[in-house]
């Protein structure tokens, strides 16, 4: 079972976060989930997303990995 899953148009699982991030950057908007185990069952939590995000420095929303 792979550790990461990216939810975008397709939901694709990856072994590494770098692979997941690369896929996410090509599939906006995307949410990267990380798999954990609880009582032998998988549980997923968000670790990153490639999506709109308010950029304080620019004073506007931008699409970025955050």
């Amino acid at each position: 079972m792979k550790r990461y899953m990216v939810d975008a148009n397709r939901s694709v699982a990856f072994d590494t976060l770098d692979e997941a991030k690369a896929f996410a950057k090509h599939n906006f908007p995307a949410i990267i989930l990380e798999r954990t185990e609880a009582d032998g069952k998988p549980s997923w939590r968000e670790v990153l997303r490639f999506d709109w995000h308010w950029n304080e420095a620019r004073g506007e929303p931008v699409i970025e990995l955050w």
Binding site: D7, I31, P42, R45, W52
Partner: protein, 224 residues
């Protein structure tokens, strides 16, 4: 079938926050509905099979400014993305996407309107009827949407009116995108892709669940 695990328990924080926002919106007499995954999970016999890392809500144009003020008071930055507004709170990474009057699928820009009189109270949240939620997910038709639809269809305890589904689709004039979504779901089941995703997501094979779901989907399709 035993309960399946899926997502991290941090969804509780999101749902708690949503409950506070709904309560505050009611005090302000705002017409608001919770949509998307947070609404869908109120229909599931095992809600933790499906949750969301963010929340989607629907508000009317005349309630938007008041909702935004409410969210700003709660520490959110709110901004306009055109088809949707977004509220972010960086301290706990909470994201609330706000649809105004209609729910727009961002990939096709297909709008979908729900009948406010059909919004019901479930798990203390105002949510659309299940037929509207399913139709929206079939318009979007991302893989996770198709999995959601199949998850509902595989659960015989969730009453879905085929006639109500057909009427919801017709009233929104979305017969073509919904039919396409149903066919994509069918192909995803028959190719084995949904079984693969189900297993990755829930940690166990679907067994007969997807076959049962597909039979139900085809009944809904007959109403289009």
């Amino acid at each position: 079938m035993r309960a399946l695990a899926c997502y991290d328990h941090t969804v509780k924080a999101l749902l708690d926050e949503l409950a506070v926002i709904v309560a505050a919106a009611r005090l302000r007499k705002l017409r608001l509905a919770v949509i998307g995954a947070c609404a869908l999970r109120t229909y599931l016999s095992s809600p933790d099979r499906r949750t969301s890392v963010d929340a989607d809500v629907l508000i009317t144009t005349d309630g938007l400014a008041s909702l935004e003020a409410l969210l700003v008071e709660r520490g959110y930055r709110v901004y306009d993305l055109g088809a949707w507004h977004r509220a972010e709170r960086n301290a706990d990474r909470l994201v609330i996407d706000i649809a105004v009057d209609r729910i727009v699928d961002v990939r096709s820009f297909q709008p979908y309107m729900i009948a406010w009189e059909a919004v019901t109270e479930r798990a203390s949240l105002p949510v659309p009827r299940i037929e509207d939620l399913l139709a929206q997910k079939l318009v979007s038709a991302r893989e996770k949407d198709l999995l959601d639809v199949l998850l509902v269809a595989s659960d015989a305890s969730i009453p879905v009116s085929a006639n109500g589904f057909g009427e919801a689709v017709e009233s929104n004039d979305v017969e073509v995108p919904v039919a396409r979504g149903l066919l994509e779901a069918q192909a995803a089941v028959q190719s084995g892709r949904m079984a693969q995703l189900w297993t990755e997501r829930f940690g166990e094979a679907p067994g007969r669940a997807l076959d049962i779901a597909l039979e139900r989907l085809m009944l809904w399709k007959e109403k289009l």
